[in-house]
């Protein structure tokens, strides 16, 4: 082959007579037009001679991406052992070559990711998650800071606890109340359909009372708190991490765990049982509404039945679980926040991860308690 054509350009291969060859380009080298036909130009350059010239004297236009094609072709020939150079460029064509050719090509600083099997991938992801989230560091640091705080409780930033309790508790009251009221109503509705058929209307009070106090109110309240407060804690600490405020705390001699983490843990441990008690009452009220409207029960009949069947332990066991829910949510959210990296995007990732992991932890803790209570007959 001695010539190649493409839209808007033409290339001739010319023998220079001294063992060298030249590719003489003419016309306009625009990437969109060149790219599809560039294989012809590459074929024209084969076989390479010891000396190859790319003559651009008759090129009127050269854009950036077409420059890259030329430089790649030159590099290819150099790697094949030829001495390849670009000659004849002038004006804007020369300026483009100088701009794109200013930095010599460098090999990649990092190897491409290796293909690994699925088991290796799972292991790699687990190890990466543990390393990137600095999970083991967090567990160690919390343990040490916790031991120090037990020895000297005054080192904890107690001043922040009431404010955090207000944000997690008081500010969350309306949504916790509304959600649990609806949950109570829905539970009663679902039960009413079946109970009516067998004339056991009154047992709706048993169902709503026990399910709300033992499971539904603690779970729903913890889920809401995970979404509200867990996300807020992760976002706050994550933002502090990326704006170097955590580093600033450390350089001021303040322990981030005692100053930021423990107040949040204490706030949720204290607030969740209180919210759960309120959720119990509101959920039972939701069931009452349905009982009155669809099952023809009087309020007094419903409430007497609730009082008969729901014991102190039912309420207490639900509240006990929520203390551990609060501990889990706060620790997970703070850990995600403190492990944040990568600017605003990292804060978003940490917040999402905090909520998702907290929800998972809530269900796991709930399952553990359910098995535990069953095992001891509670």
């Amino acid at each position: 082959m001695i010539a190649a054509d493409g839209p808007g350009y033409h290339v001739d291969r010319v023998d220079l007579g001294d063992g060298g060859a030249a590719l003489r380009f003419a016309g306009e080298l625009r990437f969109r037009q060149c790219f599809a036909s560039w294989q012809n130009v590459r074929r024209l350059a084969r076989p390479p001679t010891p000396r190859m010239e790319f003559d651009l004297s008759h090129v009127d236009h050269l854009d950036g991406a077409a420059t890259a094609l030329l430089l790649d072709l030159r590099s290819e020939l150099v790697e094949a052992g030829a001495a390849a150079e670009i000659v004849g460029a002038q004006g804007p064509v020369l300026a483009m070559l100088q701009l794109y050719g200013a930095h010599p090509p460098r090999p990649s600083a990092k190897d491409p990711p290796a293909q690994i099997g699925i088991l290796d991938q799972i292991g790699h992801e687990v190890l990466t998650t543990v390393a990137e989230t600095r999970l083991l560091d967090f567990i160690g640091d919390v343990s040490i800071a916790g031991a120090q705080a037990l020895r000297r409780p005054s080192t904890i930033n107690w001043a922040d606890v009431p404010h955090l309790m207000e944000r997690a508790g008081a500010d969350g009251l309306p949504i916790v109340a509304m959600i649990n009221f609806l949950v109570g109503m829905v539970t009663a509705f679902q039960a009413a359909i079946q109970l009516k058929q067998v004339g056991a209307n009154i047992f709706v009070a048993d169902l709503v009372g026990l399910s709300m106090t033992r499971e539904l109110a603690p779970l729903m309240t913890a889920i809401i708190v995970a979404g509200r407060s867990g996300a807020a804690f992760a976002a706050e600490l994550g933002t502090m991490r990326v704006s170097e405020e955590i580093d600033a705390l450390r350089t001021l001699g303040l322990d981030p765990y005692q100053f930021l983490v423990f107040p949040r843990v204490l706030a949720l441990i204290l607030v969740l049982p209180l919210l759960t008690i309120m959720a119990d009452l509101v959920g039972i009220a939701g069931g009452l509404l349905v009982a009155m409207l669809t099952l023809d029960l009087t309020p007094s009949a419903y409430l007497i039945e609730v009082q008969r069947v729901v014991g102190l332990w039912d309420v207490f066991s639900g509240c006990l679980k929520t203390m551990f829910f609060g501990l889990s949510i706060a620790l997970i959210a703070c850990q995600r926040g403190l492990a944040t990296h990568g600017g605003a995007e990292g804060v978003g990732r940490s917040t999402t991860s905090a909520v998702v992991t907290s929800l998972f932890a809530i269900v796991v803790v709930d399952a553990i308690f359910t098995v535990l209570f069953n095992a001891v007959g509670w």
Binding site: T239, M240, S243, E244, E245, D247, A248, L249, R250, T251, L252, G253, L254
Partner: protein, 249 residues
Amino acid sequence: MPSAGDAPIITVEHLTIGYGETVVLENLDFTVPRGAVFAILGGSGSGKSTVLRHLIGLETPMRGTILVNGAPPVRTAGAPGYGVLFQSGALFGSMTLAENVALPLRKWTRLDAAAIDTIVRSKLRLVGLEGFENHLPAELSGGMKKRAGIARALALDPPLIFLDEPSAGLDPVSSVDLDQLIVALNHSLGMTTVVVTHELASIFAIATECIMVDHEARSIIARGNPVALRDGSTDPRVAAFFNRRTLAA
């Protein structure tokens, strides 16, 4: 005020630093004299901020030793012996300026609220922010945040202060104001200042000594007075940096 015969306030020996298994700089040896304004220079990505993070104890060296005022920078107890200005100021967003500056005083002193308030006002006056005590950081400009960060770093009257890219993000006028403040603190209080920067105008205005680190060499490639290096260094990398030209030129 420190004198020439005093022991260096910072001593670094055979220091190798990096992240994970990646070495950024190795076998660094340098000292920071008391009372100096000492600049750590280098291009973007050269590792100068990494050096600073090791000097203030936020990172642990791979090898080598760092002594700040005769002790390792990673403290386990006691008040910090230095102040730090982070690049963005790192003011605590939920606290007012006064609360930010008061925080180290509340933690490390037994002063009562009135005494702390007096000190806070004096520090804010020192940096030209008197009257802004009740402002939140979000209500301040970039230059004001840097000044507030310096006020907090000075709260405990440390003999040493670290400044991480103090001019970053500032307009030329604010940058000059900050340089003048740094020089005034150094002259009036004898405070040793370690500055990480690549702003040439600031370097020549404030630094009495410097080291220059280089990413490719992974070591210190120049040390001394910045003006002397600009005018007399034969290393093309150093000459290019100080004279603001490319290496090929």
